[in-house]
Amino acid sequence: MALIRITSPHVHKPASTADIMRLVILATLPGVLAMTFFFGWGTLINILWAAFLALAFEAACIKARKRPLYFYLKDNSAVLTAVLIALALPPFAPWWLTMVAVFVAIVIAKQLYGGIGQNPFNPAMIAYALVLISFPVEMTRWTAPFMLHGEGWNVLGFIDTLQLIFGGWSEHADAFTSATPLDEMRHRGGLTTEEAWRASDVLANVGAWHAVSAAYVMGGIFLLYKKIFSWHTPAAMLLSLGAIATFFYLIAPDSYADPFFHLTVGGTMLGAFFIATDPVSSATSNKGKIWFGIGIGSLIYIIRTWGNYPDAVAFSILLMNLAAPFIDQYTQPRTYGHKAPKRGIKEKA
């Protein structure tokens, strides 16, 4: 007769993948609202459209791979990928752009590698990088934060936005587009940063970006509180980016943007809290996560400042995804009672 003895900790119910994914989707809500508030209906439409496509592609792939359909569809991971893609794309991205991105994310970056949990790269970032490389015109046509000016929401209503996304681009719509602050900073010509700040309309509206970043931080802190991910990756990433930016800003404030700018515009916060923390494609141990975060933070600064692309979150995360197995190899924690592992070149006995 076996007596079942239950000891602490008394965990009532392990979190399922579906629960975690749902929480993460929930945590993007402040960011979604902020994006919608500043950049119009486009974000919401893109999210719905991307989620629909993601479920459709996922279902088709699972069917083709002869796996249980409902079991995989209900884990919400496809929807989360879709939401992240939609948040990363420009709010007025045409429908086919979203479709290509979601197809690449779900079919190529996820299912062809073996489905959930098997992808070496973050599917949303693969998709983003691919469309960024393939369609530079559409991808750099970011929306102006027109909500800040005058009539706000009346300027471009829901129906108009639908037409813009599904009907095709019209010259009329050019009034609602602008470069991103990172773009503006990157291509400021011979101006110093201070002159760029004074001269540029885009940089004058940087408040919208700060607000969106703050909303992502709120979502991230919620996830941290819910223990969906540990603090190591985002903290290491943000601190390293901030430290490097501070260093260069102190050396030459005229040629390098300030650290606050680097932390609060572009995809930094979205990347730090929602994408770099992806448990599948990031490093595993806490020490590994710190190195992983440092790598991302430094690469973001390097590519933003000296690379060809104004923003670099996607590329940095993908590059560090590539390095994650290597990091894991060298940061394997020591199990209790064992000696520190000897790695590298072995001494001759």
């Binding site: 290509v100 190529i108 691919l130 490389i133 393939s134 369609f135 530079p136």
Partner: protein, 238 residues
């Protein structure tokens, strides 16, 4: 020893296809196949070099000392490549400029070196020539497939600029699949070639699997493994 010409042909075209199975010559395969015309011209050039080098090496195989065989192979291959390069310069100068460095780089194409070492240096002339031609054609077919795939996805056309290779007759061969196509840069860039080649390999594996199933349903035919040693850059070369 009788030579199994059928097996050599099938190996070159399918079972041991240089691009799909041996995964050799990836550098030109991935870099050049952005359009059908590039693929065809590189394929033809590689096939000619491969056949010629196999022929020459097979003729002289008894005189080539084993210890210095690789430098000798390289010199033979290089002379053929030089011939092809001059020929292309004379006949299709524009194409020569488009393909640029990849024509001289045929020298380093592992398919050619691999076949020279693994086949031509051990087999009689007729078998070696056939092997070179079939390996070359197998390589060319994959180049063309990949080129077609990438050109269709990347630029929305097929057989564009064929007149560079076949003269003014071919100018009307261009098929525009989608009018006013915006272009899908990813397919033109090298990453697209990787994905495309991966899909082609997957397709071959599916076909092989189906064939095997059908074969095992009928009388099983044993396909003997080739005894040739593969060219490897790592590990021990026995």
């Amino acid at each position: 020893m009788s030579i199994d010409y059928r097996k050599i042909t099938l190996d070159g075209l399918w079972h041991n296809n240089p691009a799909l199975v041996q995964l050799l010559g990836l550098c030109p395969l991935l870099a050049v196949t952005a359009s059908v015309v590039n693929s065809i011209s590189l394929g033809i050039a590689s096939t000619l070099v491969l056949t010629g080098s196999n022929l020459t090496i097979s003729v002289f195989r008894k005189f080539i000392p084993d210890a210095v065989r690789l430098p000798i192979f390289v010199m033979i291959i290089a002379s053929f490549v030089t011939c092809i390069e001059l020929l292309m310069q004379a006949v299709t100068y524009e194409l020569y400029q488009i393909l640029g460095i990849f024509i001289p780089l045929i020298v380093t194409n592992c398919v050619i070196m691999g076949r020279a070492d693994a086949f031509a240096s051990k087999n009689p002339v007729s078998a070696s020539v056939l092997d070179g031609a079939m390996m070359g054609i197998g390589f060319t077919i994959i180049l063309i497939l990949l080129g077609g795939l990438r050109e269709a996805l990347g630029s929305g056309t097929l057989f564009a600029d064929m007149h560079l290779l076949f003269g003014p007759v071919a100018e009307s061969w261009k098929i525009t699949l989608v009018d006013d196509y915006k272009g899908f840069l990813f397919a033109i860039l090298p990453p697209g070639a990787f994905v495309g080649l991966g899909l082609l390999i997957a397709l071959k594996n599916i076909i092989d699997k189906r064939l095997k199933e059908r074969q095992s349903a009928n009388a099983p035919i044993q396909v003997k493994e080739t005894v040739s040693k593969r060219v490897r850059v790592t590990g021990q070369i026995s």
